[in-house]
């Protein structure tokens, strides 16, 4: 894989990307921090932290959609490995999320009153936001690897919200969403966030790398026919594929999974 090939890939992939989810999620996230900043209510540091966390989740929801590629069935047959386009998309999503996060923090600090801005541990909050965004990317990669049609945001975004709800309900001794008023709990929670970030990053990179594997061929039990199926398609025709009349296979046999 030569670098100039990657360079040549950037422009068409960027043009093919769906910008709507990224922009929509970014604007909702920024509105979450901008509205309280514009009002003259005085918020406690704890409230500002919660607003920033929710804004980060919005940005992460946007990133969950970056790998959506309805053209996957046709691009899968090109010579360019699948991970290359995925990497371009993931990088774009991460850069966009970083820009949005920077703006969100700047807005919050500008709107914070009575010195609450200085009390905000921006570095640790950035770690939390990074963990959320990379977790969204990991979910998107897992969905992308399993989605024959290349639409994975519909799986990744709800999965991210479920994960966020589950993490918010963790018992005290495993809590991730610590309060700024509890320094010991805060430090412990951020060690856990670092672990989460690394684990999610590993899943995302591994998932993308596996996208570089050649499409698996499946031999259908019918003489003289070789069928090329999409790699990782969730349901492969099983015994029905070998029946005498291929065209009469009932459509209901190849049901979509419940989340599609």
């Amino acid at each position: 894989m030569r670098l100039n090939l990657l360079g040549a890939l950037v422009r068409p992939v960027l043009r093919a990307m769906r910008r709507g989810p990224l922009l929509g999620a970014g604007s909702v996230g920024l509105a979450i921090v901008a509205v309280p900043a514009a009002l003259d209510t005085v918020l406690r540091p704890d409230n500002l932290v919660t607003l920033l966390r929710l804004a980060a989740l919005c940005f992460a929801v946007g990133v969950a959609f970056v790998l959506d590629d309805p053209a996957k069935p046709s691009t899968a047959t090109t010579a360019v490995p699948a991970w290359a386009a995925g990497a371009v998309r993931a990088t774009t999503g991460l850069v966009a999320a970083a820009a949005e996060w920077t703006m969100a923090v700047a807005l919050t600090l500008a709107g914070a009153q009575e010195g609450t801005g200085e009390a905000l541990p921006v570095r640790d909050l950035t770690l939390e936001a990074a963990a959320a965004v990379v977790l969204a990317l990991a979910f998107a990669v897992l969905g992308w690897a399993r989605a024959p049609r290349g639409v994975c945001g519909t799986v990744a975004a709800p999965a991210l919200l479920v994960a966020a709800a589950a993490l918010a309900l963790l018992p005290q001794r495993l809590a991730l969403l610590a309060s700024v008023d509890d320094p010991a709990g805060w430090a412990a929670a951020h060690r856990r966030f670092a672990v989460l970030l690394v684990a999610a990053g590993a899943v995302a990179v591994t998932g993308l790398a596996l996208g570089a594997l050649p499409p698996r061929t499946v031999r259908v039990r019918r003489a003289g026919t070789r069928m090329l199926l999409m790699p990782w398609s969730p349901r492969r025709p099983r015994s029905s594929a070998g029946s005498t009349s291929w065209s009469r296979t009932p459509a209901s046999r190849t049901r979509a999974p419940p989340w599609s």
């Binding site: 989810p21 918020l43 607003l51 709800p158 709800a165 309900l169 989340w259």
Partner: protein, 529 residues
């Protein structure tokens, strides 16, 4: 090819209205919604903490089911409402996502009927949410120590909220053809809930227009004092569901007189319910004034082991729990300590005039209130009754009641004009409170951990209570590490000296050989008494 041509006969299409097709779609979609991974995850996240509490024994043995049905609403709104919104939205958008929507034009079901099928599919979803809420709240109501029964309208509110947000998810799918909208709407809803929680003062009637009616007092009140118009609020929510449903149908292309009639009816129900819930409930207000000034006429009294316990009718199952604590304290003190009138415990609620967040109360006002209440107690035949509240079941609650009973025994009267208990009395009070039951020691340490300056014995919903300055509480906490009987013997021997207000805390240190922290600088000292 011959095999293909000789296809079996296809059943003739059924003529008539698309009702049957819509119901068939609703049936299929409801099953898909219920078995969607997000729905299952929401159910697991809802039941998980509850099951853990049941299995680990951490569940409250003295719950207030009416309060549980209310407090589950915000959690249910975010969890089940969010899940319903995402799942319904994904379901409606499925055809668009898979590029099959254009094929629908040849099917029997026109677009508005299809939307109707998705809206109907939300009803089994709501029923499933109702079952889960019923399990959790019903589990609380079946506890032997449960106080009263939940309000059916409050129980129904959570499933209706889930259906409401599901209907919003259907409408959203008809407005925005992107799966990103629903997750963002869930997050926006979380922000709105946070904002509502930050406002904190949601006691005014107009806040009832929010989907969830926030409790107007931070503690449970007996059912007869509730001012929540729960049925009217439920009507209001049902009206909003209907408006959202009609909006989704209209957006899918439904037109005609029937839609106009449906929209007008739905809006009328929503407005009528919304306005009706704003009407002030004068009877409940009068009941609250009466119950705050003198709860005796609304209460049932029981005598156990020579102690009179008076509780609101719903709360009588708690008397056994209170008695355990009171007997625990009485066992620790000598018989001579039972001075004053016969011991009594009375439950109270500050249901009218409770200072909402931000309002400050002075100790003079607290004393005036406590004196008025003491006069009412005397008139009701239980002079110098120890006050307890509508929260019970935790180790902390046991420690607070034990502290109040200990004060009553030390001082010979109920807490009324003296809020800071210093000297040897303070140390002995802390020891009595911590030694009363097996759990009260843990409760006492918890109170100590979350306070600074003094160890507070604050009842929930009374703002003020007695407290022991940290320096005087320290020897008392140290005594808890000593053998109970040995300390009790020495306390009994020196009772009259130890409970005298002028005895300094150093005397406890000498008698028991426990360390006493050095005195604070004069300006940081608590004013005693």
């Amino acid at each position: 090819m011959t095999a293909l041509l000789a296809d079996p006969q296809v059943a003739a299409p059924v003529t008539g209205t698309p009702w049957r097709a819509m119901l068939a779609l609703a049936r299929v979609e409801s099953i898909r919604m219920l078995r969607h991974p997000v729905s299952i995850a929401a159910a697991v996240l809802f039941l998980g903490p509850w099951i853990y509490g049941q299995l680990s024994g951490g569940a409250n043995r003295y719950p207030v089911p009416a309060d549980a049905a209310i407090s589950v609403q915000i959690f249910g709104l975010l969890l089940f409402g969010g899940a319903a919104m995402v799942v319904a939205n994904l379901g409606v958008l499925r055809a668009y996502r898979h590029r099959t929507d254009r094929l629908y034009d040849v099917l029997v079901l026109p677009a508005p009927w299809r939307t109707g099928g998705f809206l109907l599919a939300l009803l089994p979803y709501g029923a499933a949410v109702g079952v889960l809420v019923g399990i959790v709240v019903g589990g609380a109501a079946l506890q032997p120590g449960a106080a009263g029964l939940p309000d059916p309208a409050e129980l129904l509110t959570t499933p209706v909220l889930a259906v409401l947000l599901g209907a919003f998810g259907v409408l959203l799918a008809r407005l925005v053809r992107s799966a990103v909208a629903a997750p963002l709407a869930v997050l926006a809803m979380a922000v709105a809930s946070l904002a509502a929680a930050m406002v904190a003062v949601l006691t005014e009637a107009r806040w009832r227009l929010l989907p969830v009616m926030f409790p107007d007092l931070p503690f449970a009140v007996p059912a007869e004092l509730s001012t929540r118009p729960s049925w009217r609020h439920l009507t209001y929510l049902a009206g909003i569901v209907a408006v959202l449903a009609v909006a989704a149908l209209t957006r899918s292309g439904a037109r005609g007189r029937r839609i106009v009639v449906a929209l007008v009816t739905a809006a009328a129900v929503a407005v009528a319910g919304g306005v009706a819930q704003l009407v002030p409930d004068d009877a409940a207000r009068q009941a609250r004034i009466a119950a705050t000034a003198d709860p005796a006429p609304m209460q049932t009294c029981q005598v156990r082991n020579g102690v009179t316990y008076c509780a609101f009718n719903d709360f009588t199952p708690w008397i056994a729990g209170w008695d355990e604590v009171v007997q625990g304290v009485l066992e620790l003190v000598p018989a001579t300590a039972r001075t004053g009138p016969p011991l009594a415990v009375r439950q109270r609620v500050w249901a009218y005039g409770y200072p909402v967040a931000g309002a400050l109360s002075s100790s003079a006002a607290d004393t005036a209130r406590a004196t008025r209440w003491a006069e009412a107690d005397a008139a009701a035949g239980t002079p110098e009754a120890v006050t307890t509240d509508t929260t019970w079941g935790s180790a902390r609650d046991e420690a607070v009641l034990a502290g109040a009973v200990a004060y009553r025994l030390l001082a010979g009267h109920a807490a009324r004009d003296e809020w800071s208990i210093c000297g040897a009395r303070g140390a002995i009070l802390v020891w009595l409170a911590g030694q009363a039951t097996a759990r009260s020691g843990d409760g006492l340490r918890e109170l100590d951990r979350f306070s600074s300056g003094a160890l507070p014995f604050d009842l929930v919903g009374f703002n003020a209570g007695i407290g022991v300055p940290d320096r005087d509480a320290a020897p008392g906490l140290a005594l808890l590490e000593r053998p109970r009987d040995e300390v009790a013997r020495t306390v009994a021997e020196h009772w009259s000296e130890l409970v005298a207000p002028q005895t300094p805390v150093e005397r406890v240190g000498e008698l028991f050989g426990v360390p006493v922290p050095p005195p604070l600088p004069a300006e940081e000292r608590h004013t005693c008494g």
